[in-house]
Symmetry: C2
Subunit: 353 residues, 2 copies
């Protein structure tokens, strides 16, 4: 007989993270990591860190990190929420704000974690199809809903929507919280942060994992008006009051302050992206939208993506492939160093189906 405790398990279909292979000499272009190391100041702070302090709890408010972000983005400290990567921040935002009986809305092609959070927290949802060029149609979001979330730039499409589209969605939803997931914004156009003073229903979420080269440290944050941030903190303190380790706080603070290095890395990645896109175009690759993140979403009319993905893998070049619907002929390729992208292009030049 089955014990009945098994009937009470929350059953979920978990998110599948991109594989994290660890081969010597591999070219890892599959999880949108930054090819450059964290700021040199991070090394200095790490070297100077006194491990004896680890016996003590961290500051549950992570105030030093909150303050550094507030200063950097010119907002109040009561407008900043920090968490264990932007996934933690987004998960808490779902739990805090999406408690309506009406469905939340997000695009049909988007970050695959959204439906997973909706399922685990039992939030009804409805997806809105992207257009032919993977564009978001703002009018689709102008219907009664329990909340809205979309990434800008979107993943895995790498398409950036103009702020006017973002604002139209926020404006049409003054009775819902609208979350703009800006994990990749530093590689794209202006951020929705400029809209925060105007809209009390806007939450902007960003991360240290991409533009700040700190995926291994797990730091994400949200910025919004104080009422949103307070509600998130109340839920956060009801789940786990000490989430940010002493090291995450100290290394995070110095990464925020290393602004010059941060900007240089972004410019390098954008230049490499431009070069790679040109090369891919010469090879016949197509893009449904202009690549605007630290990854490129590309399809070749002659070479099926799945075969290309497998061939690249054999050549020790890891990219991401989603075998699903309208995007099943696309590859998502993280922008690495110039050398890595040269090797990718060299391989593709010799590739025959």
């Amino acid at each position: 007989m089955m014990s009945s405790w098994k009937d009470n398990i929350r059953s979920v279909v978990p998110y599948t993270p991109g594989e994290q292979p660890n081969q010597p000499h591999m070219i890892k272009l599959n999880t949108n990591e930054n090819p450059y190391p964290p700021a040199p100041e991070v090394k200095s702070v790490l070297d100077g860190f006194d491990p004896d302090k680890l016996r003590l709890y961290p500051d549950p408010k992570a105030q030093a990190l909150v303050d550094a972000l507030a200063q950097y983005y010119h907002v109040g400290a009561d407008q900043v929420f920090v968490g264990v990567g932007s996934d933690d921040v987004l998960s808490i935002a779902f739990l805090t704000f999406f408690n309506s009986d009406k469905p939340i809305f997000f695009p049909d092609i988007t970050y695959s974690f959204y439906p997973v959070w909706a399922d685990v927290y039992k939030i009804p949802y409805e997806t809105k199809p992207l257009g032919e060029h993977f564009e978001i149609h703002a009018e689709d979001y102008a219907a009664p809903n329990g909340g809205v979330i979309f990434p800008n730039p979107n993943a895995p499409t790498s398409r950036y929507e103009d702020l006017s589209v973002v604002e139209e969605i926020i404006k049409a939803n003054r009775d819902s919280v609208v979350i703009v997931d800006e994990a990749y914004i530093d590689f794209a156009g202006p951020s929705a942060l400029s809209l925060v003073p105007k809209y009390d229903n806007l939450l902007v979420v960003q991360t240290f994992s991409k533009s700040r080269s700190m995926a291994g440290m797990r730091i994400g944050y949200a910025i919004g008006q104080p009422e949103l941030i307070k509600a998130m903190n109340d839920v956060h303190y009801s789940i786990n009051s000490y989430t940010m380790s002493r090291l995450a706080i100290e290394l995070g603070v110095c990464a925020v302050k290393s602004e010059d290095y941060f900007k240089q890395c972004i410019e390098k990645i954008k230049a490499t992206r431009t070069w790679t896109v040109e090369q891919l175009k010469d090879l016949g690759f197509e893009f449904a939208a202009e690549p605007s993140a630290n990854f490129i979403f590309a399809a070749h009319p002659k070479y099926p993506a799945e075969a290309l993905f497998t061939a690249l893998r054999k050549a020790n070049i890891y990219v991401r492939y989603f075998n699903t619907g309208r995007i099943s002929n696309y590859l998502r390729i993280t922008v690495g160093t110039d050398e890595e992208m040269h090797r990718l292009i060299e391989f593709l030049k010799t590739y025959k189906n």
Copy 2:
């Protein structure tokens, strides 16, 4: 007019963490931290850590840490779950296992986070009163329920229940998951880990924050049969797939392996506890149960705890005071170094109400 998004905020009464004052020369005996630094090997690993690796995501499975714990406790790797402190582990266990319409049971005097998790996840609960000596009555838990959780030793009472009591509760609840929260077990008697092979409904939760001197790093874990651990991992990967930072994994592994240092620290703290309890007895303090954690729960028949708490604070000695019901005349005093406890006792010797 109020925007209706405010109606959909999850409203909670958040857990209040113990204050984290940071005064020079303070004696901090208020949050049950370990007075000794982490193992010396932690410093070596930290010194040798290459910060460039932080640009890459950590292993989402934290396999190195899971394996180190599995080896230490002689269980399979599929029997170990790791999280961001035991609060993260407990929170995920609540979400994973407590999905019945029946109430979960826990003691009326216990870790104050249990009702907070129940509230945030909308889990019905019922508390069971501890006895005169703060003992758990196993028979109280032999009624239909949606799950059971209790700490052993209990907090803030510092009372340890014999394994026979623990086993009686597990046995009476084969249709519920029973969580034994062993944050303080290393300072007390034998762990319920020995019961894991016998009971598929038992989950044992422990932490690096107390006996392993790593509160600042945020590492906790659970051990149970593989089916329980898989269910927790499925929920975990549905919330945040990369929770353990690269540093948490690497420093955690070496803390587990530093067994001799770990055992020495525990013996020192237990000896200091014995000395302190004797001194407190000489001063007329009373204990409803034998102190068995790295903290002492004591009351004085003549001196009200609140006044004592305030006086200690003025003397820069921080302890914890809970102004509630049956425990309102008790102080919870973390066991610090010998020198810290001497200073506490010296102060109490001169204390006049």
